[in-house]
């Protein structure tokens, strides 16, 4: 077998096959693209329609990082508020989490011992 493969539990994973497939797909995509119309007009036709208002500058329209997943964070607002409470940034809390987790493992371990 020329292609090496990584055997997993359910089958195998061979990145080289994927790379070959990607090359084939790229060639097909290029052929389709090359078959496109040559008389496509640029200029007025290519401009975005903004209800007749002039398009703002590209700099002003760049979606900033904190707005990118606005909908997602808004939908999970409850989760994120509790997460922010957890990541309080206070050193006492950091130590508290550590001591708490250690104590919890202790309790669970010795309770299991007794039962």
């Amino acid at each position: 077998m020329i292609l090496m493969m990584l055997k997993t539990i359910g089958g195998f994973w061979d990145p080289l096959i994927l790379v070959l497939a990607a090359i084939v797909v790229a060639i097909i995509a290029y052929i389709i693209r090359a078959a496109g119309r040559r008389n496509h007009k640029t200029g007025e036709q290519a401009k975005p329609f903004f209800s007749g208002v002039a398009e703002p500058s590209k700099e002003a329209m760049h979606v900033r990082a904190s707005n990118l997943y606005w909908g997602f964070t808004e939908a999970l607002k409850g989760y994120y508020t509790s997460m922010k409470k957890m990541h309080s940034g206070m050193l006492n809390d950091y130590i508290g989490w550590f001591v708490g987790i250690a104590a919890l493992i202790f309790v669970v371990l010795f309770v299991m011992e007794v039962l």
Partner: protein, 512 residues
């Protein structure tokens, strides 16, 4: 004297001596200092590679400090090992390889990144490497504690390196206090084990282990302290602070230091306690893993600081490793057939995590170097002026998010399949988090590299590009030939984890 016999000692000694030589040479000339540091680290790298090769070919290597022969672990008058023993098995060799490789690349990157007070910087840098290597090479529990502290002190000083920004001191203070609390817990449990068995050697303790109540207390303390240092959620809060505020390449070199703590965790679980390990420990590791994946990836999504975002992604990657290793440990205790696959996935992902997140940290450091800006909200359109960096970031993005055919996918698919055997829910969470990870990194790519040219800047200098390209080349190689990497690097580590008897026997001799 054959130099090959003294490799383990030399690998620690060379960077240690150079570390204290560096400030002196710095007084003479900066170029000479850079040259000396580079030569010392390159020499360490070569010797470490020789050592790793030796271990992979000939099995466990033993080096006894202060004995007439370097292989005489038990003195003639004694029944137990009382000298300091360095013991290198496949797992140690694997970790040593990661540490020296990442440190070398980080050093090359730092040559152009670090402008002022270089003498101290490289001293601390080499000391941090010494600490990592010591933790990974030693066969002695107290030595492990000492090197853990060496790593923490050097790392904390490096995190606070840009001391003109106050937040670096804050991150370093949190890091050092958390680390020393963890280390004190480790020391206390070493005291417990010493009081019980009069032993400090890990192999000897493993042989004498009786799993009494004292052993269980020591296990809980060791386990929680090393899990803390490895950055397992919900004890991960120091990690984004430390990684996020560290200068340039240090964020990347900090990943192997957390990996060294993870190594200590696995050494405690798999070797010292081996089959007498309490049954809830694998479950706890799996829970830590799931929490780390979930919290890491969701918190990364809302970060606005470029390095802090990647740090939370690093927490999630730690989660994948812990998840796989927890499942592997569960299988190890119950002799299931998926054990090897799970451990393989975990160890392979450990290497991939260091490479992928490391590359992303280097790119982030390059962006900060070129623009002086860390906030994602103020950056934009860097792809216009930093073409190579953007392409390298795309490679790191694809690898860290686990897109085929990158290395992250190869290790993640092994993890998904082995974890599925325990419970499908585990792999569902892992896959969902992997998708979110892609979204997280696309946020950086969209905000920093695409769009109109918002920030004027130039491409990063060549040494920085060189180490990024080297990492990217390794990532692509690991991605295209995962079977070779697993066969030659990962499997020796997995065998070492499974075969604790050989580790004990190498020190305690025949008849165990």
């Amino acid at each position: 004297m054959n130099i090959m016999d003294h490799l383990p000692a030399l690998v620690i000694a060379i960077p240690l001596l150079t570390a204290f030589l560096t400030p002196l040479i710095d007084r003479v000339s900066r170029k000479a200092r850079n040259a000396v540091v580079f030569i010392a680290l390159a020499l360490t790298f070569i010797l470490a590679i020789l050592l790793v090769q030796d271990v992979f070919d000939n099995g466990i290597q033993i080096y006894v400090m202060g004995a007439s022969s370097t292989t005489q672990t038990i003195p003639t008058q004694a029944a137990v090992p009382i000298r300091i023993v360095l013991e290198i098995d496949g797992l140690s060799a694997f970790m040593v390889l990661i540490s020296v490789l990442i440190s070398l690349l980080g050093l090359i990157y730092s040559f152009s990144d670090i402008k002022e007070r270089g003498g101290r910087f490289y001293t601390l840098f080499l000391l941090m490497l010494v600490g990592m290597l010591g933790m990974e090479l030693t066969g002695d529990l107290f030595n492990l504690f000492v090197f853990l502290e060496v790593t923490s002190i050097a790392a904390a000083a490096l995190i606070a390196y840009e001391f003109r920004r106050g937040s670096t001191s804050e991150a370093a203070l949190k890091y050092i206090i958390i680390s020393s609390i963890g280390a004190l817990f480790v020391l206390f449990s070493i005291g417990l084990l010493y009081g019980e068995y009069d032993l400090l050697n890990m192999a000897a303790i493993a042989q004498a282990m009786q799993s009494t109540h004292i052993d269980k207390i020591a296990l809980v303390l060791l386990f929680s302290a090393f899990a803390l240092k490895a950055g397992a959620a919900p004890m991960h809060m120091w990690l984004p602070d430390a990684y996020g505020e560290a200068p340039g390449a240090i964020s990347m070199v900090l990943i192997p230091t957390t990996a060294a703590s993870m190594y200590a965790l696995f050494r405690v679980c798999f070797t010292i306690y081996n089959e007498s390990l309490h049954a809830i420990i694998p479950a706890v590791i799996i829970i830590f893993g799931l929490l780390s994946i979930f919290i890491g990836v969701t918190m990364a999504l809302v970060q606005d600081d470029i390095k802090r975002l990647i740090s939370f992604a690093a927490v999630a990657e730690v989660g994948y490793i812990l998840l796989a290793m927890g499942v592997g440990l569960y299988g190890f205790l119950n002799s299931e057939e998926y054990t090897v696959t799970a451990l393989r996935g975990g160890m392979f992902h450990l290497f991939n995590d260091v490479l992928d997140i490391g590359l992303l940290f280097l790119v982030a450091g390059g962006v900060i170097y070129a623009t002086g800006e860390r906030s994602l909200n103020k950056l934009g359109g860097l792809a216009h002026s930093m073409k190579y960096t953007s392409v390298l970031f795309l490679v790191g993005l694809a690898a860290a998010a686990g897109l085929p055919p990158m290395n992250g996918f190869a290790s993640k698919i092994i993890i998904y399949e082995s974890v599925y055997k325990v419970s499908p829910i585990l792999s569902i969470i892992a896959i969902l988090a992997s998708i979110m990870m892609l979204a997280v990194f696309i946020k950086i790519f969209q905000a920093v590299f695409t769009g109109p040219k918002l920030t004027e800047c130039r491409e990063v200098p060549k040494p920085m590009l060189a180490s990024m390209i080297a990492l990217a080349a390794l990532i692509i190689f690991f991605g295209l030939f995962p079977d070779m990497v697993i066969e030659h690097l990962v499997d020796p580590a997995v065998n070492a984890l499974m075969n604790y008897g050989a580790y004990i026997q190498a020190v305690m001799g025949v008849g165990t």
